[in-house]
């Protein structure tokens, strides 16, 4: 990727320090540390059950790790909740889709504008001029995202009726609508065909390139990961076994062993 980036990769924006998470006696993550740099595309890979999704859930505050800390934008966050992280500028998508199924595509994306909505329910009930102004701004931004993702034709369809690939796109749209500085993508291309995957890669790179949004993604397709990411961290059995550029990872013996198995 030898092109001039509009947003140069900068200092660490997200730091995960010595995170350990267990469910009862099962250890999902053990003493894991890595960081994410500003404006980079960072991939987390690893075999099934390596603790990748659990990692994202710890960063986002859905799980509370027993040990370790998460620092975001240089601040260590003591009591992480999804809400606090959203307010600080971290958005995400989910592995098994967590869309608002009965709402339209546009409404789903509009919910992503929640943090840019300051009016309260009374003002909404009375439809004061400032509510109309704010609603128009939010709608315009949502429409922008919808045309960016090329899903104009389905914007009024209830999300539950859409095929899987499109739902994944809508979920990305909803995360984009928050105008967050960092977006966590949990398997954004799972279950997609080659063409859809290529589209999704294009969108991820375009967002990163045009808006400078830092992207953290979990992905199984090695080709995709090596193509689009700046740096890769490899988890296996809840531990970091490799961390570096795609080339470094591909040459890492531990990673090769974890993926291909090793003779004992």
């Amino acid at each position: 990727m030898e092109y001039e980036r509009k947003f140069k990769i900068g200092k660490p924006i997200l730091e995960v320090n010595n995170i350990s998470l267990s469910f009862g006696g099962v250890k999902a993550i053990t003493d894991t540390s890595f960081n994410v740099l500003e404006h980079e595309v960072r991939a987390i890979i690893g075999p099934n059950g390596a603790g990748k999704s659990s990692m994202l859930n710890c960063i986002n505050g859905i799980y509370k790790p027993q040990q370790g800390t998460v620092s975001f934008k240089g601040k260590q966050i003591p009591d992480i909740t999804p809400n606090i992280m959203a307010q600080m500028g971290l958005s995400r998508t989910f592995q098994n889709l967590a869309l608002f199924k009965r709402m339209s595509v546009l409404d789903n994306i509009l919910v992503g504008r929640k943090l840019h909505t300051k009016t309260n329910f009374l003002e909404v009930a009375l439809q004061l001029p400032k509510v109309k102004k704010e609603e128009k701004q939010n709608r315009d931004r949502s429409e922008e995202i919808i045309s960016f993702l090329e899903i104009e034709d389905i914007k009024d369809t209830p999300v539950g009726k859409l095929p899987y690939g499109l739902q994944k796109k809508v979920e990305l749209g909803r995360a984009l609508a928050t105008d967050s500085t960092i977006i966590l993508l949990d398997e954004p291309m799972a279950g997609m065909n080659v063409e859809e995957k290529r589209d999704m890669c294009r969108f991820i790179l375009k967002v990163n390139d045009e808006l400078g949004t830092t992207m953290v993604l979990i992905e199984h397709d090695m080709g995709v990961v090596m193509d689009i990411s700046d740096r890769v961290v490899v988890l296996d059995y809840g531990k970091v076994i490799g961390d570096g550029t795609p080339d470094e990872i591909m040459a890492n013996q531990k990673v090769i062993d974890a993926y291909l198995g090793v003779e004992h």
Binding site: N83, Q87, F100, R102, T119, E134, N138, T178
Partner: protein
């Protein structure tokens, strides 16, 4: 469709105009029997309003709550005490404050929704039903130490003018219901409603988008209780014309729940359709029963048969149209327009074939 005024589309405004002409001009001109106002229209409006409250918390926010009648009782007795003790507030002022008092109870009894969900929340919210009724019964102050158990509601006086005839009371209910319905529509279609529905459909994702579960759920409970409180006050003052805690028992809560489900969860017009169905259907069955089997069958048997038919219909309805009557109405409209379109196509085809 683009909204023309506030959040209403052109179609909404036309519907509103039709409803207003019907309810303000047609009904008062053609219906002169008091029975229609005192026993059908007034309770229908009051219960539809309470059902909108139930819709907010259950249909839009997805919180299974069962205690609407408790909040109605809170509103009704708050109204009685406000008119009695703070006469300066006036009828409209008292009505708003009663709603706010009910909303305070709504916040209190909505708090469990943060920890429990589904059927368990339903049981937890039952507490409001029993607690509020118990409180009113236990402390004589709420009933102004009336020993008879049934208190007569004060006359409605707005700006010095008495509203005591059935027609005048109907207009009071109509005005309040119309205003609150329009406000509810604004909320449901605006960012407030989107937050509610986001919490209903996927709470974890909503939270990750910055929607606070605590705030949204408590807000929904408060707004719901406000609507129920105002509805309860109108129910007591315009329909029952008396205040007794027994009138707001759990049966009424269930009735409102059924109106909400049968009308169609997550719809405002469903509240009116559901309330009309539950309220009018027994009346209709009764009329049919009395006229068809005139004297041939014992009246008690007829009333039992009514219950059986009513229950059966509800089950059938829920199986074939679980999304409620609002959805059914939508489907009928859609089919009509499709039929219209296809007949147009046929005309076109036949005219084309004639030409060739």
């Amino acid at each position: 469709m683009k909204p023309v005024f506030m959040t209403y589309t052109k179609k909404d405004l036309i519907n509103l105009a039709v409803c207003m002409v019907l309810s303000v001009l047609v009904i008062p001109t053609f219906i002169t029997t008091e029975y229609w106002y005192t026993s059908i229209l007034i309770p229908w409006l009051c219960l539809a309003l309470a059902t909108i409250g139930q819709q907010v918390v259950m249909g839009y926010t997805g919180q299974l709550a069962l205690g609407a009648a408790g909040f109605m009782a809170a509103g009704a007795f708050a109204m009685f005490n406000l008119i009695l003790r703070v006469p300066d507030l006036g009828f409209v002022g008292s009505l708003i404050v009663s709603g706010l008092i009910a909303a305070a109870f709504g916040i209190l009894f909505g708090l469990p929704s943060l920890k429990v969900r589904g059927i368990y929340l339903m049981v937890a919210t039952l507490a409001s039903q029993f607690f509020i009724i118990w409180m009113i019964d236990k402390f004589g102050w709420f009933k102004n130490y009336d020993s008879s158990g049934i208190i007569t509601a004060q006359d409605i006086v707005i700006l010095g003018k008495p509203f005591t005839t059935p027609l005048a009371m109907y207009f009071v209910c109509l005005a309040v219901t119309t205003v609150l319905t329009l406000l509810a529509m604004n909320m449901a279609r605006g960012s407030t409603g989107r937050n509610w529905m986001a919490v209903r459909d996927m709470d974890i994702a909503a939270e990750s988008m910055g929607v606070s579960l605590l705030k949204t759920k408590v807000q929904a409970f408060a707004i719901s209780a406000f609507y129920c409180g105002v509805a309860g006050a109108l129910f007591a003052f315009c329909y029952l014309k008396s205040l007794e805690p027994v009138a707001f028992d759990i049966k009424l809560s269930f009735k409102i729940l059924f109106m909400c489900i049968l009308g169609g969860l997550g719809t405002i017009n469903g509240a009116f359709i559901g309330a009309a169905f539950i309220l009018l259907f027994p009346v209709l069955l009764n009329a049919v029963g009395n006229n068809v089997f005139h004297g041939a069958i014992d009246a008690t048997i007829i009333s039992s048969i009514e219950q059986v038919i009513f229950g059966g219909l509800m089950i059938i309805f829920m199986i074939y149209e679980p999304l409620g009557m609002a959805k059914l109405w939508e489907n009928i409209k859609q089919k009509m327009s499709l039929k219209f379109q296809s007949s147009n196509v046929k005309d076109l085809k036949s005219s084309l074939s004639k030409k060739s």
